[in-house]
Amino acid sequence: MGEPRFAVGDRVRTSTVDPPHHTRLPRYARGQVGEVVEVQGCWPLADDRARGLSDPRVEPVYTVRFPAEALWGPPGGHWVQVELWESYLEGAT
């Protein structure tokens, strides 16, 4: 388990991949750019634990905020915050 790659305020892009196993990235938040609002600490990756891996990756989890309009189009008007493991995320400029 390394240092968190991202910090509060960073813009991140979520994976577009639909993995062939259990994951905790909701479909509505795939391939979206959001802002990190909280760095939560490290947790064993749900995807690995669900597959019964004996040595699951332990990764930082981030609270990432998305504007509703980006997720579903107008009118939006609210925020959605989702809690995402680091491997669901890449940096976004």
Binding site: R24, Y28, V61, R65, G77, Q81, V82, L84, W85
Partner: protein
């Protein structure tokens, strides 16, 4: 309740499963009874006590917002009786921001503190709709928010569990902490009511 099957059919199935697992040495009637006792000791009243304390004690409110687990421990509560250790965080409603909680993927909820979640929270309708049209969903609960109140929907997709700290209602200055706690509803702690 049950989907396609009658309660009695399912009850028989559950009893058979129980007998098989007890027979396999994996649990016991005593253990099962103890687990049920433990989960039913969680209730919204616990959350209400936390809220009332935060309303009367600004220092506690700050500590609650900074570290929910530690603040729970101050009042003798814990999130460690659930299936696995969970980080507990509290999100505060303000005149300009209203928070509402959901778990779209399954129904994660701070069971260890508040007991089992209400049926409406577990419904597909709630899980599907509140992330997308929170104002309409809150209106169904009878909660109309001013247009300039920002709404933040929190999808509990990882290992943290959350609770809303509602705003203290106006005109409650004279109430005791116990009386304040009685104002707090389960819906208020999730964000589908003002308090």
């Amino acid at each position: 309740m049950s989907g396609q099957h009658t309660n009695s059919e399912i009850a028989v199935r559950v009893r058979r499963l129980e007998e098989r697992l007890i027979g396999a040495g994996l649990t016991s009637d005593d253990e099962l009874d103890a687990i049920i006792g433990q989960v039913t000791s969680g209730s919204p009243a616990n959350g209400a006590r936390v809220v009332a304390r935060a309303w009367v004690d600004p220092g506690y409110r700050e500590r609650l917002l900074a570290d929910g687990n530690a603040a729970l421990a101050e009042l003798g509560f814990s999130m460690s009786t659930g299936p696995q250790p969970q980080r507990f965080t509290v999100v505060e409603n303000t005149p300009t921001r209203h928070n509402v909680l959901v778990c779209t993927l399954c129904s994660c909820y701070p069971i260890a503190l508040l007991g089992p979640s209400p049926s409406w929270y577990k419904s597909e309708a709630y899980r599907a709709r509140v992330v997308r049209e929170p104002r309409a969903v809150l209106a169904e609960f009878g909660l109309e928010l001013p247009a300039d109140t920002e709404i933040v929907v929190h999808d509990t997709s990882a290992e943290s569990r959350h609770m809303v700290l509602p705003m203290r209602p106006a005109g409650t200055e004279g109430l005791s902490e116990e009386e304040l706690a009685r104002l707090v509803t389960r819906e208020g702690l999730i964000g589908t009511a003002a308090v």
